[in-house]
């Protein structure tokens, strides 16, 4: 019994594998499965974008099925961004739409048999750092330095910067918590699915599809929505309410 469990445990596989070694500055770095999966996701998105662009060049008054789908996607993304950023929305619709589609396709790429690229901390940390830079660039753009200083000392008066380190730590925690949330959610789904397929090999036929719906589709879509929503909220906060 024990032996059987140990033997089948060797079939569990959810790790990142190196595919091609590359010499870089005297170090050996690996092109991993994450890179390959990101390239596949990007290829899907680029092909979709090119086809959609061709299609919309000769858009018709009465849209056919494919044009309807494109319009539905664009309109719902635009509605989501407008709903949470109102007057700052026009500058960010492109960016938020892009990361929404990228994260969504990455998360549900588990259904295509890929290892989701967002289950690699490298990917999500980059997304978190982009959000971090956007927050601070927009803070500098829309507020004076004096205003930022007052804000960073916020619960206490500006001549007593006791609260400054704590506010800075809470700023640094933003990209970490954003990226870890996305990473850990997708990773937990990947681990559970590979445990099911690895340990229950013979009886795992058909019914894991239900779990795929929850772990890949539902959880992936919710986490995409949460990531974009929080990014928008933070950026809108950084832009402030000034006219």
């Amino acid at each position: 019994m024990n032996q059987a469990i140990l033997l089948s445990a060797e079939n569990i596989d959810f790790m990142i594998h190196g595919i091609i070694p590359v010499e870089f500055l005297g170090q050996t770095v690996w092109i991993t499965t994450s890179h390959a999966c990101i390239l596949i996701v990007m290829a899907i998105l680029i092909v979709f974008a090119v086809v959609a662009n061709r299609k919309l060049k000769k858009a018709t008054e009465v849209p056919d099925a494919f044009q309807n789908i494109i319009e539905l996607i664009i309109e719902s993304l635009e509605g989501m961004v407008r709903g949470s950023m109102d007057k700052w929305a026009p500058g960010f619709i492109n960016y938020i739409g892009t990361i929404f589609l990228f994260i969504l396709i990455s998360n549900i790429s588990g259904l295509l048999g890929l290892r989701p690229p967002t289950a690699d901390y490298g990917t999500t940390l980059c997304l978190g750092l982009i959000t971090f830079s956007l927050i601070h660039i927009n803070t500098l753009r829309h507020n004076s330095l004096k205003q930022i200083w007052i804000d960073k000392c916020s619960p206490l008066p500006p001549w007593l910067p006791v609260w400054l380190p704590i506010n800075i730590i809470s700023d640094i925690a933003v990209p970490i918590s954003l990226s870890l949330r996305l990473f850990a959610n997708i990773l937990s789904g990947t681990v559970i699915m590979s445990l099911i397929y690895g340990l229950l090999q013979i009886i795992a036929i058909g019914w894991p599809g239900i779990l795929h719906i929850y772990f890949d589709l539902f959880s992936g879509a919710i986490q995409t929505y949460v990531f974009c929503m929080l990014t928008m909220t933070y950026i809108a906060n950084a832009c402030g309410d000034t006219e």
Partner: protein
């Protein structure tokens, strides 16, 4: 049966991983509270169901983070083996 230092560290890592996922209690309680209040809000105002639903899911996903930190630590202890 001989137990050397390596085995002891691996055993303790497994116990630590088990203890780390106890962090799941907190998000469970928090998500339950959020869902309960969401249900109560839908009962009072059934017209706003869509908005309540999305707000509730957003809050629950944020509350889930602390539990996932525990999960990440458990996975690190089991698979990355930082202690040897």
């Amino acid at each position: 049966m001989d137990i050397n230092g390596q085995d002891l560290i691996r055993a303790c890592s497994a116990i630590g991983a088990g203890l780390a996922v106890i962090a799941g209690i907190g998000p469970g309680v928090g998500q339950g509270i959020a869902a309960g209040h969401g249900a109560a809000a839908v009962g009072r105002n059934p017209g706003a169901q869509g908005k309540i639903m999305s707000t509730m899911l957003l809050g629950q996903a944020v509350a889930e983070t602390t539990g996932l930190y525990g999960l990440v630590i458990a996975l690190l202890l089991l698979f990355v083996k930082p202690l040897g």
